[in-house]
Symmetry: C2
Subunit: 366 residues, 2 copies
């Protein structure tokens, strides 16, 4: 079976250098060699998260990283407000309730970004202990006005947790400047590496709240333990547990690749790729799910507008073009298709076979 | 730098077939191909755990698997009794306290297995809601009388959680027959695969207790969610989250390798390897840390008896023989060295360079 080039929103295609970093005999998760790679990777991640704080690389996924981050910030019985922009926003509710806290959902209008004023009103109306939202909503390709939302929360004195699983590495993140307390990601999307690692970044200002937590902290899921382990054994055993060593070496190479390109160059390239894709889709008469100005740098959702079923397009691109794209999410499954343009896929030349494939599919429709 | 053949107690050396299963372009964690591999691997794991119940393959490590298993079985405020046989027993305490429960430690005499009678007395003395112990204590090479201990707990009506991270795949496990409610492992030790996956096996009889849990369940850390996801989407998206796909394919190959050899043959081979190593060490005048009859099939701890520092032996074997072994744990660090004989290392011919290396090191001591 031919390998399908993967334009689904993660795990993304991974470069040969990153894949190669995984290969070879088993290596240990202790000792100076691994420790240096682990610490170097956390330091490189700080640049991408935009923080002088702490970053943990934790075996697991973005969902685990979200659970760790949210439970760090919330005591049982407290209340989190979640900006509900779709599936990946609403699963933050799951993490909030999973630690015994209450979740209040503030709905976001379809296709639009969350309104900072609506957040301001909501925070004035009731006692909220944490604001949570996705940086990019993978199910729709919505990129939130992260900074404006964080400023509103900050003015209300409420800490902010941002799920940047789908965004990090495709667009700017400035945790410290934007006043975000805790932010998460995963290894397999905008950071262009293999799956298996959840990432949790903690601003220096967040520790007081985290340390004050009264209800049970978990064990592996307790971010304090990861921080303390790094402090205690940075040169020999920097992580709390047996690591998927190959995945850490792969992420190390991916981070070097990202920083060698330069973050500004990289983000500009993602915007150009998105604009090319969005322009090509509109030229074909297709409508985009998200309003201009809020379209994600890493993933775009396009409406079928009743002209075809997205599953037919997905199948046609796989069969005729060796390209894998994604359908919509939930109720929109057949009404939307999604193309991710993260990492090496965020190039006009790489995306052109996708736009050509969509064009030829549409031509074959009656 | 030459690759050192790894005789530390995990991650173990991995065969070329298992390594090869990881290689190649990224694959997705959804779709029939991956789903079949995931489900097949869980079904093969049931044979090794000795259960007709459910097995979850969860991105993370054995420590995470322990947290998930223990928190599934305990409400906040309940009490777990932990048989404390060393470092890896006492970190079960961490998982118990991490979910807001109380931990009572029952100390196990150095070098000896836990005494079922002592457990019987302890369970008669106070209200205990869960008994926890390690199948093999990695820090000392103690293999517990798992079945006898479980029977005592069962007679007292208390469920049992067993950490089999270091044992599974090296010696029999019969969860159902032995009356164990929940048992954990990791991919990188006796199962001979790469790190990155925690394993949680749940006996059918345990679900009533798990479903009755009142205190917060976590999200990713809620075993009910993993079970429900498998039930709901076995053919397309059997796991709750983005999986480290390569690690699952590697474990699939490793499980086929294990079952092709046959479990009985495999366990006998591990016993023979252990007996060869123990015999060779005693012939060299070295004393073993664990009494006969309770020595683990997968890892052996040998005392230096003040004749040398274990770190000097570790260094000598690395420098002169391309072999990596481990020192002792905690206070015993320099007084003990440990050799793991798991998987392909559980062969007399493979172990002989280790025993030869120890012999030549001893000859060079004054």
């Amino acid at each position: 079976m031919a390998h399908l080039r993967n334009f689904t929103p993660g795990p993304v295609e991974v470069s040969d250098e990153v894949l190669a970093a995984q290969y070879g005999p088993q290596r240990l998760h202790v000792g100076p060699g691994f420790s240096q790679a682990y610490v170097r990777t956390t330091e490189n991640l700080r640049k991408v998260f935009g923080t002088s704080g702490y970053v943990a690389i934790i075996p697991g996924s973005g969902t685990l990283a979200n659970e760790i981050a949210i439970s760090a910030m919330l005591d049982a019985g407290q209340t989190a407000l979640i900006l509900d922009a779709g599936y990946f926003s609403s699963i933050l509710k799951w993490a909030v309730e999973g630690c015994g806290a209450n979740a209040v959902l503030l709905p976001v209008a379809d296709g639009n970004p969350a309104d900072p004023e609506a957040l301001r009103v909501a925070l004035a109306t009731r006692k909220i202990d944490l604001v949570c939202y996705t940086h990019v909503e993978t199910s729709t390709g919505l990129q939130q006005p992260v900074e404006a939302l964080a400023k509103v929360a900050q003015e209300a004195g409420v800490p902010v947790m941002v799920d940047s699983v789908s965004a990090l590495g495709t667009c700017p993140a400035q945790m410290d400047d934007w006043g975000i307390s805790i932010m998460t990601s995963g290894s397999q999307k905008g950071l262009e590496s293999v799956p298996g690692l959840g990432l949790v970044a903690v601003a220096d200002t967040a520790w007081a709240r985290i340390e004050a937590k009264q209800s049970p902290r978990g064990a592996y899921t307790d971010i304090l333990r990861w921080r303390d382990q790094l402090d205690a054994a940075r040169d020999w055993h920097p992580s709390l547990t047996t690591m998927p060593v190959a995945a850490v070496y792969a992420l190390d190479v991916a981070m070097n690749k990202i920083l060698s390109e330069g973050l500004d160059t990289r983000y500009t390239r993602h915007v150009e790729a998105r604009d090319f894709l969005c322009g090509a889709m509109e030229k074909l008469g297709l409508e985009l799910q998200i309003v201009p100005g809020s379209r994600a740098s890493g993933v775009t959702a396009i409406k079928t507008s009743g002209r075809f079923r997205s599953s037919d397009l997905v199948a046609a691109l796989a069969a005729g073009h060796n390209i894998r794209i994604a359908g919509g999410f939930g109720a929109n499954k057949e009404d939307v298709f999604r193309v991710a343009h993260m990492g090496d896929n965020a190039k006009v030349g790489v995306l052109r076979p996708v736009t050509d494939g969509v064009e030829s599919f549409l031509e074959q429709q009656i």
